[in-house]
């Protein structure tokens, strides 16, 4: 290190300095991007006046990121230059207008203008597909819903949707339409990935399907919770308010994580909310349809339905029952979904049981997760059994009852776990983790009661399911042994068992952007499909990964979810 100036010779050459090199073209001359490499912001502003949509790329010629992103911008420009004006501005050159007027802390900066509205800063991933998608959203912030099928399509999207109904009889424009249009643009300022979709209905018949009757009403569609209508009487009808209302009330049962690369607490904040299922899928923002994403959405909805105890459909159910009231809260349908999602076991065989109501006066339930752990002398081939032997779990339960465990006396909010050996098998032992749940809080338990009224009934229903399900089990590996410094609470509890008080949060990550996190969690590079699933539990310092040889499809995903015990909240 250098603690003082080195001795300098006394001569004139010492004082020689040289001004910065003159700026040169950053984009090639044949490029569809107009390059103001001397920072002529005034010219750029002038030519913007003639264009409906303008894309500004502020760069510094020395900046590595600007250089890397340059190719991506050219790609987008080649596809959209007939509809969008692409302008690059050297905002570093200190003689240029741009540098004198703008003060950026990083480069490149991307601004979009829709006529006079703007700037909308794009802060999403710096690759061509994402940028193009965003530009297209700025070009068409409102989707025109012209038919019933378009409406269904719009509403079935997993991302939140806002619909406005405007009658275009009046000229030139129905009142409030411009505000609604602006709010759609406005949302892109806050929501740079464009997760909230905005649509407009002009046909009275289609509007009735929702139903919206008054021109100017705005509707926020939600899958799990009740959908909402913009409360004009409470909030002023402004673009900012509509956008704010949509952002605040939107539902996010699927959450995309797209770390931008700069210093960020995104993962820290999300993972501290509780155990998380991270799904890595390759995502093309420009694709027409997303079959894999639709599957995931279905599973996530089912999972949420279990938790929230509400019947929900990906589409709008009352489109079929035309006379039902739109804002009526949907009746819970408690019995049907539980059988599917609740009693699926995994290796080591586990099952959630509610202890029989021997003290039904109590307002609480003891819920136990009962597992059979194979330990000594069992070969690895055991892992490949499609399902846990039904007899095994029954024996475990018997054994559990025989022990007359202390759980019956304890009313506890904490989880209590105990291991007990089977009396007939020296090679396996059972684990039971129990906790007490307030009945009022967990209404689904009351339905569960019918299934698990007696252990026999419960497991026979389970066994029946086993026969139909010939799919291999989700092979959830515990990789902790490979990771120094981490540990799992008790090596005898393998897999996902005994975490009964935890709900999984679902997150999606684009493998094309974030595959490094998958690798850090143990994804293999040898497998070519970039699909990967892992459960990360920051608090317990544990993570579990799904066998990459299994395709990420609904049935396997369902099992991953059910692997996360859904008791508790």
């Amino acid at each position: 290190r250098h603690i003082g100036p080195s001795a300098s010779p006394v001569d004139r050459a010492k004082d020689v300095t040289m001004p910065a090199k003159l700026p040169v073209n950053f984009f090639s001359s044949g490029s569809p991007v107009t390059d103001f490499f001397q920072g002529q912001l005034d010219y750029a502003e002038r030519i913007r006046q003639d264009s409906e949509v303008t894309f500004y790329f502020f760069y510094a010629p020395w900046c590595g990121q600007s250089i890397t992103v340059r190719e991506e911008i050219e790609q987008v420009a080649r596809r959209l230059s007939d509809q969008v004006l692409f302008v690059a501005i050297n905002c570093w050159w200190n003689q240029g207008k741009c540098r004198k007027q703008k003060h950026f802390f990083y480069f490149p900066v991307i601004y979009l203008y829709h006529r006079r509205f703007g700037p909308i800063e794009y802060k999403g991933p710096m690759n061509a597909a994402y940028i193009e998608k965003f530009v297209r959203r700025v070009m068409t912030p409102l989707l025109y819903i012209s038919s019933r099928s378009k409406l269904l399509e719009f509403l079935s999207d997993y991302e939140p949707g806002v619909l406005g109904y405007f009658e275009f009889n009046a000229s030139p424009q129905p009142p409030g339409y411009l505000t609604f249009f602006t709010s759609a643009l406005h949302s892109l300022k806050k929501d740079y990935l464009g997760t909230i979709h905005f649509g407009v209905i002009t046909n009275q018949q289609i509007a009735k399907e929702i139903p919206l009757t008054h021109s100017g009403s705005i509707y926020l569609h939600r899958h799990v919770n009740t959908s909402l209508i913009y409360p004009r009487e409470v909030m002023n009808y402004t673009a900012e308010n509509i956008c704010k209302w949509a952002l605040e009330n939107r539902e996010a049962f699927i959450h995309w994580l797209r770390p931008h690369g700069g210093k960020s607490l995104l993962l820290n904040n999300e993972l501290k909310k509780g155990p998380a299922l991270l799904l890595f899928i390759p995502f093309n923002p420009l694709a027409e349809s997303y079959p894999l994403l639709d599957e995931i959405t279905k599973v996530a909805l089912e999972y949420n339905r279990c938790n929230k105890n509400q019947a929900t459909e990906p589409a709008v159910p009352h489109l079929k029952e035309t006379d039902s009231s739109p804002l009526e809260s949907r009746m819970p349908d408690v019995h049907t979904p539980l059988a599917e999602t609740f009693s699926i076991t995994k290796y080591p065989c586990c099952n959630t049981v509610v202890l029989p109501q021997w003290y039904s006066i109590s307002r609480t339930h003891n819920v136990c997760e009962l597992c059979v752990n194979q330990t000594v002398g069992v070969k690895q081939s055991k892992v490949n059994l499609p399902q846990c032997n039904f007899l095994e779990i029954e024996a475990a339960l018997d054994s559990f009852y025989l022990k007359e465990h202390t759980f019956f006396q304890v009313v506890s909010n904490t989880i209590e776990c105990s291991n007990f050996l089977s009396y007939y098998s020296p090679f396996s032992y059972y684990t039971a983790c129990c906790r007490t749940i307030n009945r009022g809080l967990m209404s689904f338990i009351s339905s569960e009661k019918t299934f698990f009224q007696t252990p026999k009934a419960a497991f026979s229903s389970h066994a029946k399911k086993c026969k139909v399900d010939t799919h291999s089990i989700p092979h959830i590996e515990d990789r902790n042994c490979l990771i120094p410094g981490s540990h799992i609470g008790g090596t005898n509890i393998t897999g996902l068992s005994c975490r009964t008080n935890k709900t999984l949060n679902l997150y999606l990550l684009d493998s094309n952007l974030s595959w490094i996190y998958a690798e850090r969690l143990g994804a293999s590079q040898a497998i070519h499909t970039k699909e990967f699933a892992a459960i990360v539990d920051l608090q317990d310092e544990a993570h579990y990964i799904m066998d990459q040889n299994q395709a990420l499809i609904k049935s396997t995903l369902g099992k991953v979810f059910s692997g996360a015990p859904i008791t508790g909240g």
């Binding site: 290190r1 603690i3 080195s6 050459a13 010492k14 040289m18 900046c63 607490l265």
Partner: protein, 538 residues
């Protein structure tokens, strides 16, 4: 580069390959221009295409860059330069020299070249590594520095005359780093030559600083070495102090010395308590702990790298990411950056192509393989080429606000900046050896293991082979210890987390964590890549 070693990341495969080559051509552009236009002057003047002396015609650029040459794989040029160096320089000259700079650049450079010369194919004499012309030169220079240490406190004067010793009337005020940046070179010298005087004076100076720390555990940045009084009471991690902290850590690792490490850890705690705000480190009054200067200095960017050496990857990465934002704002690090204002400080707007941030990136990349660190490397290559490359070399950026250039190319650009940049991009460099291969040499004291990795860079980026320190002592036990360690290493095949803790004397019998072991990383560290940081789990 071996593609399979790299994490697949969106942009990495696009720029991994070319960047290492571009760093190489950067080096040769500067080096060849020095040889053509400036040799035998000390430094190249890139704007006027001539040379100047900053060291009293010591051919500074040639000497300081010789090790970079070798790291870049140019063995023949390395051999040629070493031969030039061996022709000798007369140090019996009436020149006032900075004790600190002479140590880190001249003594450190000579020791490093001496230790690495065999591997580079230079013919060495029979007693190597315990004797040799470069070692003798290093010893000769170091002896000329010793009079500076003859003070009441043991803390050295800042300047010494190579012929007459300390000038009468020499100022006793010197900076903290000028007192505490000797242990790496001087201990190496003592171990190789067998004369303990160098290590002793270096230790004595370190202890004197430790004794004079404030009640809250901080040190100022200038001290009166005769009276042991703090003259400048600003405490921070940057200019005037930096390499003192660096040498506590590096000295501890080099000498496996727990005392030095425990000193550092206590400083580290005080620094964190009083100077750290939001992952920035500010300057505070050393006695009161009140903020005196909310400034980030370019020199401070070594700190994340140092933290990585003690295993504190988490804090290191968070601070690194702060510093990186400053780079992104200007295309370099200004000497001073006002944190609250988010801008440069008057008269401190320059960037003389300093290595510190790149050095930290290199260490952190070894520890984390976080692609963000390669991005910094990419940005550094692009910035330096676009902004400071001129016909005759690379010029200091005089002002980062407009990228005006100055007629200097400081010697640390070739000796450090390019070296760390290259090491960042070259995963297979011998410097990164993890002990999986080594040399056995026969010394007068028996067989000895060398080149097993774990190189300690002195503060001027000259690597020292720590294994060599065990070669030249008569104590057999010490050699056996090294041999045992190597045997143990091979029995623990493929265990990357090998540390020396097993052989440290467990005198207490308690289960305390050895100071010199590396702590395991928190669970969330596996996801702390690409800018993601995690807050302390408390």
């Amino acid at each position: 580069f071996n593609g399979s070693l790299w994490p697949l990341y969106l942009l990495m495969d696009l720029f991994m390959d070319p960047y290492g080559e571009r760093v190489k051509s950067m080096f040769y552009h500067a080096y060849n221009n020095y040889l053509e236009n400036a040799f035998p002057y000390d430094e190249l003047r890139p704007l006027t295409c001539d040379g100047q002396d900053t060291w009293g015609r010591y051919c500074a650029d040639l000497r300081f860059s010789v090790l970079t040459l070798w790291i870049l794989g140019n063995v023949s040029e390395f051999q040629r330069v070493v031969n030039v160096l061996q022709e000798g320089v007369d140090f019996d000259i009436d020149v006032n020299a900075s004790v600190f700079e002479t140590n880190i650049r001249v003594v450190g450079g000579l020791l490093s070249a001496h230790l690495l010369s065999k591997r580079a194919g230079v013919e060495v004499e029979a007693g190597w590594p315990c004797s040799g012309p470069l070692l003798r030169m290093a010893e000769e220079v170091a002896r000329k520095l010793l009079p500076a240490f003859w003070t009441p406190t043991g803390m050295p004067y800042g300047t010494v005359n190579l012929l007459h010793g300390v000038n009468p009337g020499e100022t006793p005020v010197t900076c903290t780093a000028g007192v505490g940046t000797f242990i790496v070179e001087f201990a190496t010298l003592s171990h190789l030559t067998g004369d303990p005087v160098f290590e002793d004076v270096a230790r004595k100076a370190l202890k004197a600083l430790w004794k004079n720390r404030s009640e809250i555990g901080l040190v100022g940045n200038h001290i009166d070495v005769a009276a042991a009084k703090w003259v400048a009471q600003d405490a921070g991690i940057g200019a005037g102090v930096d390499s003192y902290f660096e040498y506590l850590v590096k000295g501890a690792i080099l000498l496996q010395d727990e005392e030095l490490m425990s000193m550092f850890l206590k400083y580290n705690k005080a620094i964190r308590n009083y100077t750290k705000f939001d992952d920035w480190y500010l300057w505070v009054q050393m006695y009161k702990g009140t903020v005196s200067m909310p400034v980030f200095q370019s020199l401070e960017a070594y700190w994340p790298g140092l933290q990585s050496l003690i295993g504190d990857i988490d804090h290191a990465m968070r601070t690194f990411l702060n510093y990186y934002t400053v780079w992104k704002q200007f295309g370099g690090l200004p000497e001073f950056y006002n944190i609250p204002q988010g801008y440069t400080v008057e008269k401190r707007e320059g960037y003389p192509l300093r290595p510190e941030l790149i050095e930290s990136a290199m260490y952190l990349y070894r520890a984390t393989r976080n692609p963000t660190l390669l991005e910094l490397g990419r940005d550094a290559v692009e910035s330096i080429e676009k902004i400071s490359k001129v016909d005759c070399g690379f010029a200091t950026i005089k002002d980062l606000r407009d990228h005006r250039l100055d007629n200097r190319m400081e010697s640390f650009f070739l000796a450090e900046t390019v070296k760390y940049l290259y090491l960042l991009f070259d995963p297979d460099n011998f410097i990164h050896n993890n002990g999986s291969n080594f040399d056995v040499v026969l010394t007068p004291y028996g067989e000895c293991i060398l080149g097993a990795g774990g190189y300690i860079f002195n503060t001027e980026a000259h690597p020292i082979d720590p294994a060599a320190l065990h070669c030249c002592r008569k104590r057999k036990e010490e050699q056996w210890e090294v041999e045992d360690l190597m045997r143990e290493f091979y029995s623990l095949k493929r265990s990357k987390k090998f540390t020396f803790k097993q052989t440290l004397d467990q005198r207490d019998g308690e289960t305390r964590i050895p100071l010199l072991s590396c702590s395991s990383q928190p669970f969330n560290s596996k996801l702390a890549v690409l800018g993601q940081v995690f807050l302390d789990n408390t």
